[in-house]
Amino acid sequence: MGNLDIKLKVDASGLSCPLPILKAAQGVKTIAPGELMEVIATDPGSVKDFAAWAGSTGNALVESDSADGKYRFVFRHK
């Protein structure tokens, strides 16, 4: 953690489904293949949602953790 070269940060805190996944899907289009996007969400459903999104779109989930009701995900653009 902390040494990843994050290209884009998406803050979806306070947003309910489906907005976190929409924001992530919008965001990943703005970075180049291989670049990293970090998403912060507070919606507990986002944990399963982002795992499914990564599996379905091929944007690999390279890191995830949670603390203080916040969920953090790092994806590598396919």
Partner: protein, 137 residues
């Protein structure tokens, strides 16, 4: 397997449209093509002059349901029309008005919000749905 998800929006209350918009946005985020067919009160809710108006909730919502729905609208929930706009920008989302419902409500396409891409009949809807799932709301 056909990835296309087709939704028939018959109901015109804000809660059902909100639930529908969530399904559409999720499919768009996953890269699945979405076809939407607007009938009756679902179509009426897409009239340009009233898309942002209060369309009420299904009767089972009751007073407590209305309070919960209004609270969600104030915090972190996008209005269904905005969620559909975002989904259209993101993915392949096509919204068609049912031609029979257009006649019933005496509407022209110019009466509808620009979210609506066109007008078609039920045969075109089925052909475009292909082998994919159809959801009726």
């Amino acid at each position: 397997m056909d990835e296309t998800i087709s939704l028939v929006l018959f109901s015109g209350t804000d809660d059902k449209l909100q639930a529908a918009a969530t399904l559409v946005a999720g499919a768009a985020a996953l890269g699945k093509p979405v076809k939407i067919f607007l009938q009756y009160w679902g179509l009426s809710a897409f009239r340009a002059d009233r898309i942002a108006a209060d369309h009420g909730l299904a009767p089972e919502a009751g007073e407590a349901g209305k309070l919960a729905f209004d609270a969600a609208a104030r915090t972190g929930q996008a209005h269904w029309a905005d969620a559909l706009r975002m989904a259209k920008e993101l993915g392949e989302v096509d919204i068609q008005a049912c031609s029979a419902s257009m006649d019933l409500l005496k509407l022209k396409q110019s009466d509808l919000d620009p979210l609506v891409d066109g007008i078609e009949g039920v045969a075109a809807f089925y052909i475009n749905a292909g082998e994919g799932q159809i959801v009726f709301i």
